[in-house]
């Protein structure tokens, strides 16, 4: 008896979302098993996550704060992956964006007292630009020299890490500590809690403007992919580069452009984190957002709005996961989720056929000539 995979000729609409959700459920189950195996308490851990992430409005707000950088980096990855460009460098692009935005404040490039309405957009531009440059490097290397973008973008993640460390331990260090001084108020992204005097219910809610950036970016990306010529080209290249070439599309240019936009989005995420949450540049500014973004993008099948949903879920995981022992659990769960998603993907693309041995009318001997 053999098990065969046969390509599906036609996939029902509901199969893909179902397998995606199923994959997540299975992954959580498997992770629970592993957790139990190493001596943890999965039930308590999961309940804690659910509570710590969605328990009340304040906590929900925190979840969305954690989700914000994920949305933007998730979109960055989703865009690149749509075109089969493996941008593994979202982490580095995020860091560069954080640095770029900080540079506006800390360099300083604007005179003190400049109102927020100038500072914030300046930070946004700087952040996106820095991230874009970091995306440009692997992009042009791939377009011009055919260099594997996975390795180049990944290596740049490490370079970015040390770049930040240089500035944070060196020129911008506050009193010799591993962080810069705090940004002035004009460089803070507005948060709901800032208007608490007018709306008391918002008191303590730290959701900031970055979340809006994320939603806006998701909408714009959806629009780009489905309603514009550029988006059509991206989808076509991603599905069949040979057909795209035949259709007259300049693939090299597309690679560079998409990598730059992807980098810029991740850079914006960095800016939003630095401007909306931490208000300074510091060493461990990202708990791996850029890497989680990869899984989010995949989970969302590269769809912008699905990225938002997935980001919220993962935001919950990161938020609550900080308190879970052992500390590697969220990372492990992410790996299991990705594997489950892949397995689910296989189920969607193929049908499983079980062959029984076929009866034959001839006696089963193999003779030699």
């Amino acid at each position: 008896m053999t098990i065969r995979l046969e390509p599906r000729m036609w996939t029902p609409r509901w199969l893909s979302p179902l397998t995606t959700i199923g994959a997540v459920v299975v992954a959580l189950f498997i992770s629970a098993l592993i957790l139990a195996f190493v001596g943890g308490d999965p039930v308590r851990a999961y309940l804690h996550i659910a509570n710590a992430a969605f328990g009340d409005v304040g906590v929900l707000s925190d979840t969305l704060v954690k989700a914000t950088p994920l949305i933007l980096t998730g979109l960055a990855c989703a865009l690149a992956f749509r075109m089969r460009l493996w941008n593994i460098g979202a982490e580095g692009q995020f860091l560069l964006g954080a640095w770029g935005a900080s540079a506006i404040v800390l360099a300083p490039t604007l005179p003190p007292g400049t109102p927020a309405i100038v500072v914030i957009p300046a930070m946004m531009v700087a952040g996106a630009f820095a991230g874009g440059v970091w995306g440009f490097i692997p992009g042009i290397l791939k377009a011009r020299l055919g260099v594997n973008e996975i390795i180049t973008s990944l290596m740049l993640n490490y370079v970015a890490l040390f770049w930040i460390q240089y500035w944070v331990f060196g020129p911008w260090s506050e009193g010799g500590f591993q962080q810069t001084e705090q940004f002035p108020r004009e460089a803070w992204l507005p948060r709901l809690t800032d208007v608490a005097t007018a709306v008391p219910a918002f008191s303590g809610l730290t959701i900031h403007l970055g979340f809006l950036f994320g939603l806006l970016a998701a909408t714009l990306m959806w629009f780009l992919l489905n309603r514009t010529r550029a988006g059509y080209e991206i989808r076509l290249i991603g599905d069949s580069p040979r057909a795209a070439r035949y259709a007259g599309i300049d693939i090299k240019r597309a690679i560079i452009v998409v990598f730059v936009i992807s980098g810029a989005l991740a850079g914006l995420a960095g800016m939003s984190e630095v401007g909306g949450v931490v208000h300074r540049l510091q060493d461990r500014i990202s708990p791996g957002y850029g890497y989680t973004a990869i899984i989010i993008a995949y989970l969302a099948h590269f769809g912008p709005f699905r990225v938002v949903i997935a980001s919220v879920l993962f935001g919950a995981l990161i938020l609550a996961g900080r308190e879970i022992q052992p500390s590697g659990v969220p990372a492990m769960i992410q790996g299991v989720i990705l594997f489950s998603l892949i397995a689910g993907d296989t189920l969607v693309r193929y049908r499983i056929r079980i062959d029984r041995r076929q009866p034959s009318t001839a006696p089963t001997t193999t003779s030699r000539a």
């Binding site: 053999t2 995979l5 592993i34 190493v38 493996w86 593994i88 290397l141 020299l145 055919g146 260099v147 594997n148 996975i150 390795i151 180049t152 990944l154 290596m155 740049l156 490490y158 370079v159 040390f162 770049w163 460390q165 240089y166 331990f169 060196g170 020129p171 260090s173 890497y291 990869i294 899984i295 995949y298 022992q325 052992p326 500390s327 590697g328 659990v329 969220p330 990372a331 492990m332 769960i333 992410q334 790996g335 299991v336 990705l338 594997f339 892949i342 397995a343 993907d345 296989t346 693309r349 193929y350 076929q358």
Partner: protein, 322 residues
């Protein structure tokens, strides 16, 4: 700063990259891209270290580490070979899983005290040979000598034996190999496993020989990815991979040791530990990987050789009766 000592230490560091790179060469030559090297190395490192802490026997720890790496690689194998998944994504998933799992398993290990390491050897007579002797053959971990042996064996296997011919065929044109009765699936599983065993070995080399101790993700610190880059630079040749690995090893050691020096050529050392300029030094290996990969790609473009033709493409057999 004693250059000879630096280079000698670099050989040890390079051996880690060597094992991982050669392992990945085997896997990729059979047509399977396994990007999970970092994850497998971490698992090997933590498995090796925790075993030696628990049992005090580094040899057993070595075996456990290799098995751990191998088991993890088979997971990727199933997804890549049987489920025909996108090998890039599956490899990344393996990295996440391996890293997370290693962190979970390594909980509490960083406090472990001194552990027994694998023995170090000095080759008699030959270690007196000027220049090469003191660097390559003096007081090196036994694993380093294993590494020396691995390179020619790997080369010979691939180029000069029948199974090696089959390996090359499977990676270049699996349907031709299949038509000739070669078990494509089986070969690929076998070589992915070899890659996993060697990656586990690489991780164990760190925690049992070169840099004993468990420092969570930092234990491997991206070296798995450097190994993947080295494979491209090596143009899938074990000998070139060895060259690249030792070169990187030397550079890594140099970067580490220069931070301890007060002055270079009479000038104050800007890279002395504690000064912020050291961070630029730390960037160097990673930037170098980019350079090296660019070189490898340009060469591949020029010679129109490059990767095994079927690399990363799942093999689908036409319908069979059996």
């Amino acid at each position: 700063m004693d250059f000879q000592l630096v280079l000698a230490a670099g050989v040890g560091t390079g051996t880690v990259l060597l094992f991982a790179a050669v392992g990945e060469i085997f896997a990729e030559r059979s047509g399977v891209l396994n990007l999970g090297v970092e994850g497998m190395m971490l698992i090997g490192a933590v498995a090796g270290f925790s075993t030696v802490v628990a049992t005090g026997n580094p040899w057993v720890a070595l075996v456990v580490a290799m098995v751990a790496g191998g088991v993890l690689s088979l997971l990727h194998g199933v997804f890549a070979i049987h489920l025909r998944a996108d090998q890039v994504v599956s490899g990344l998933a393996l990295t996440f899983l391996g890293a997370g799992l290693a962190r979970v398993l390594g909980e509490g290990l960083s406090g472990a005290g001194a552990t027994s390491q694998l023995p170090r050897l000095t080759v008699p007579v030959l270690s007196e040979v000027p220049l090469l002797g003191p660097i390559f053959l003096t007081n090196q971990s036994v694993l380093v000598y294993v590494g020396y042996a691995l390179v020619p064996v790997a080369w010979f296997w691939i180029e000069k034996t029948r199974p090696g011919l089959h390996l090359r065929a499977v990676g270049q044109n699996p349907s031709a190999a299949d038509a000739q009765g070669i078990d494509v699936y089986g070969s690929r599983y076998a070589y992915v496993l070899v890659g996993g065993l060697l990656a586990g070995l690489a991780g164990a080399t760190i925690t049992l020989a070169i840099q004993p101790g468990w420092f969570s993700d930092q234990t491997v610190g991206g070296r798995g990815w450097i190994a993947v880059g080295l494979v491209i630079f090596a143009q899938w040749s074990p000998i070139r991979a060895a060259f690249g690995a030792f070169l990187f090893g030397a550079i890594s050691r140099f970067i580490l040791d220069i931070q301890g020096v007060d002055a270079i050529l009479g000038f104050t050392n800007p890279f002395q530990a504690g000064r912020s300029a050291t961070f630029f030094l730390e960037m160097l290996p990673y930037l170098l990987v980019i350079v090296v990969v660019v070189i490898g790609s340009r060469e591949a473009l020029r010679k129109r050789l490059g990767a095994p033709a079927a690399l990363g493409i799942p093999y689908v057999r036409g319908e069979r009766g059996a």
